[in-house]
C-alpha cells in the first residue's frame, strides 16, 4: 500500500472513533445519572423487544426487552434531525446560523495532534498513529480551544435574548480565565519533558515505563489541568453558562433541532478531547505496562496485538476521564460565579506559577 494511504488510518480511527462514541456517551451519561441519583434512566428502546428499531420496521422480536435504553441515542438523533429548525424572528440571522459550527469544530480539530496508539512500523519507518504531528504540539490544542469560546459567545449574542446573552458572557469570561490556568499548567509539563509535541512527550513516558507517567512527575499540574478542563468544557461544577435554574438554558436557549444537537455534540467531543489530552500528557498516552515486552517480539502478529492493545489502553484512559466528569457532574452542586472567578484567578493561577518555579528548580541540570 502507498504510504499516504497509511496516513488515512489515524484519520479514520480518530474521527470515526470520536463520532461513533458520542451517542454512547449520551447514553452513559443518562445511565450514570440514574445510578447516582437513584432514578431509572432510559430503559425502553432496546435492541430487541417492544419499542426496538426492529419492531418499528415490523419485525416481531418477542415480549421481553433486551438491553433496554441502548437504542435511545439513535431515537434521539432521529428526533433531532427530523425536528423543525425554528429560527426565531428576533435573532441575528447570520451569526445565529454560524455559531453552532464554532461549537462543534474546535474540539474535533484539537484531537488531531493527540497520538491515539503505538507507532506502526511501515517499510522500516515508524509512523505515529496521529492525524497531524505538528511542531507546535499542544499549543495547537490551546489555540483551537480558544476558538470554542466563539461558538458560545456568538450563540448567546445572536439569540438576542437576555438569558442567552448572560450565558454567553459568562461562558466567555469563564473560558478565557481558565485558559490561562490551563496554559500555565501545561507550561510546567513542557518544561518537564522539554518538548511541546505530544508524540515526543508520550515517547519519553513510554521509555520511563509505568513510573514514567506524567502524573508521577507533575502531580500538581495534573490536578490543575483536571480542574481547568472541567471549566473549559463548561461542565458541572462550573456549568454557570447553562445553569438551568437561573438562565433557562444559557447560550443555547433559542436553538432547536440539529443546531442544538451540534452544541450538544460539541460538549461531548470537547470532553473526549480533554480526556485524550489528559491521558497523553499525564497518563502515558497509549502506553500500558507490558508494552515493551510485546513490541520487542519478533512475530508480526504479536506486534500488531501490541498496537491494538495500545489503542484500547488509550480508549480506557480517555473514557476514564469522561466517566469521572460524569460522576462529578451528578454529585457536586454548582459554584457561584464569584467563587468560580476567585478559584480561577486567586488559586489556580498562583498555584500554577508556583508549580512552574518548582519544576524549574527540580530540573536544573
Amino acid at each position: 500500500m502507498a504510504p499516504y494511504l497509511w496516513k488515512l488510518l489515524p484519520i479514520l480511527l480518530v474521527f470515526g472513533g470520536v463520532l461513533g462514541i458520542v451517542p454512547l456517551l449520551v447514553f452513559l451519561e443518562r445511565k450514570i445519572c440514574a445510578l447516582i441519583q437513584d432514578r431509572l434512566g432510559p430503559n425502553r428502546v432496546g435492541i430487541l423487544g417492544p419499542d426496538s428499531p426492529l419492531e418499528i420496521l415490523g419485525i416481531k422480536t418477542g415480549e421481553k426487552r433486551f438491553l433496554g435504553g441502548l437504542m435511545q441515542p439513535l431515537a434521539d438523533a432521529i428526533k433531532l434531525i427530523a425536528k423543525e429548525d425554528i429560527i426565531p424572528p428576533h435573532v441575528e440571522k447570520y451569526l445565529f446560523e454560524f455559531a453552532p459550527f464554532f461549537a462543534l469544530l474546535p474540539p474535533f480539530l484539537a484531537f488531531a495532534v493527540i497520538p491515539v496508539g503505538a507507532p506502526l512500523m511501515i517499510d522500516g519507518k515508524e509512523m505515529p498513529l496521529v492525524v497531524a504531528d505538528v511542531g507546535v504540539g499542544f499549543l495547537w490544542i490551546l489555540a483551537v480551544a480558544s476558538l470554542s469560546a466563539y461558538g458560545v459567545a456568538l450563540g448567546g449574542w445572536a439569540s438576542n435574548n437576555k438569558y442567552a446573552l448572560l450565558g454567553g458572557i459568562r461562558a466567555t469570561a469563564q473560558m478565557i480565565s481558565y485558559e490561562i490556568g490551563l496554559g500555565m499548567a501545561l507550561l510546567a509539563v513542557a518544561m518537564q519533558y522539554q518538548s511541546v509535541e505530544p508524540v515526543q512527550i508520550v515517547k519519553q513516558q513510554v521509555e520511563g515505563g509505568f513510573l514514567g507517567w506524567g502524573v508521577f512527575h507533575q502531580p500538581l499540574a495534573f490536578l490543575l489541568f483536571t480542574i481547568c478542563a472541567f471549566a473549559e468544557n463548561n461542565r458541572l461544577p462550573f456549568d454557570l453558562p447553562e445553569c438551568e435554574a437561573e438562565l433557562v438554558g444559557g447560550y443555547h436557549t433559542e436553538y432547536s433541532s440539529m443546531k442544538f444537537g451540534m452544541f450538544f455534540q460539541g460538549e461531548y467531543i470537547a470532553m473526549l478531547t480533554m480526556g485524550g489530552l489528559l491521558a497523553t500528557l499525564f497518563l502515558g498516552g497509549w502506553h500500558y505496562p507490558g508494552y515493551a515486552a510485546l513490541s520487542a517480539s519478533d512475530s508480526g502478529f504479536v506486534q500488531i496485538v501490541a498496537v491494538v492493545l495500545s489503542l484500547v489502553s488509550f480508549g480506557i484512559k480517555t473514557m476514564g476521564f469522561v466517566l469521572f466528569s460524569m460522576w462529578v457532574r451528578w454529585t457536586l452542586p454548582r459554584f457561584r460565579y464569584d467563587q468560580l472567578m476567585n478559584l480561577g484567578w486567586k488559586v489556580i493561577v498562583p498555584v500554577a506559577l508556583f508549580n512552574i518555579v518548582l519544576t524549574a528548580m527540580l530540573n536544573i541540570h
Binding site: E92, Y94, L95, V134, G135, V136, L139, W140, L142, A143, V144, A145, S146, L147, A149, Y150, A153, L154, W157, N160, L165, G168, I169, T172, A173, I176, E179, G183
Partner: protein
C-alpha cells in the same frame, strides 16, 4: 525564481490564494459591516487567515501565538467590550456622512496600497546581499569576529533568541504588559466609597 519563498504543490498554491482572498475579504468586511459585532467577527476570520499565511511562511509558533493571543484573547476582549457598550439592534448609525467618509477613506487606502505595491516592485536587489552588507556593518561596530560566528549554530531557535540577544526587550515588554494589565484594571474599576 529569485523571491520564490518555497517549492509547493499546485494544490498548496490554490489553498494559499484561497486563504489570501478570505483574509482580504474579511478585512474589508470589518470596515463596511453595519453592526460592530459583525466587524469583530470578521476581524477574527481575518486573523485566522493571517495565521494561515504564517504557516505557509514556516512560522508555526507565531501562527499558534496569533491564534491564542489575537483570536482567542484580544478579539474576545473586544467582543466583550462591544457587548457591554452597545445594544444589539444598534446599527452603525453614522448618519448621512457615512458614505462620504467611506468613499474618502477608501480613496486614501487605495493610495496607500498603490504606494506599497510600488515599493514592493522596487525589490530588485537580492535580499541576502543587502542583509549581509548590513550585518557586516553591524559586526564592525560590535566587534564580533568570523570565528565567533562559526562557533554558533547557523539558525537559532526563537526561544534562544528571546533569552539571549533579545533578553532586554523581552523583559521591557513584560513590564509593559504588566503595567497595561494594572492600568486597565484601575481604569475600569467602579469607584467604591470609603
Amino acid at each position: 525564481m529569485e523571491y520564490s519563498v518555497q517549492i509547493m504543490s499546485p494544490a498548496a498554491h490554490i489553498l494559499f490564494w484561497f486563504v489570501m482572498v478570505m483574509t482580504v475579504a474579511s478585512a474589508a468586511l470589518v470596515v463596511v459591516a453595519k453592526k460592530i459585532l459583525h466587524a469583530a467577527f470578521a476581524l477574527s476570520i481575518c486573523f485566522l487567515g493571517v495565521s494561515g499565511i504564517y504557516v505557509f511562511l514556516h512560522a508555526d509558533f507565531l501562527a499558534a501565538v496569533q491564534l491564542i493571543v489575537y483570536v482567542g484573547g484580544i478579539i474576545v476582549l473586544i467582543m466583550f467590550a462591544i457587548m457591554f457598550s452597545s445594544h444589539t439592534q444598534e446599527a452603525g448609525g453614522e448618519g448621512g456622512r457615512h458614505y462620504l467618509a467611506l468613499g474618502a477613506g477608501a480613496a486614501t487606502a487605495l493610495i496607500v496600497f498603490t504606494s506599497v505595491l510600488m515599493m514592493v516592485g522596487k525589490l530588485n536587489q537580492p535580499l541576502a546581499e543587502q542583509n549581509n552588507r548590513a550585518y557586516e556593518a553591524y559586526q564592525h561596530t560590535v566587534g564580533i569576529t568570523a570565528a565567533d560566528l562559526a562557533a554558533e549554530p547557523q539558525r537559532l531557535g526563537l526561544g534562544h533568541m528571546l533569552m539571549g540577544e533579545y533578553l532586554l526587550p523581552f523583559e521591557v515588554a513584560s513590564i509593559l504588559v504588566l503595567a497595561a494589565l494594572l492600568g486597565a484594571v484601575v481604569i475600569v474599576r467602579k469607584e467604591t466609597k470609603g
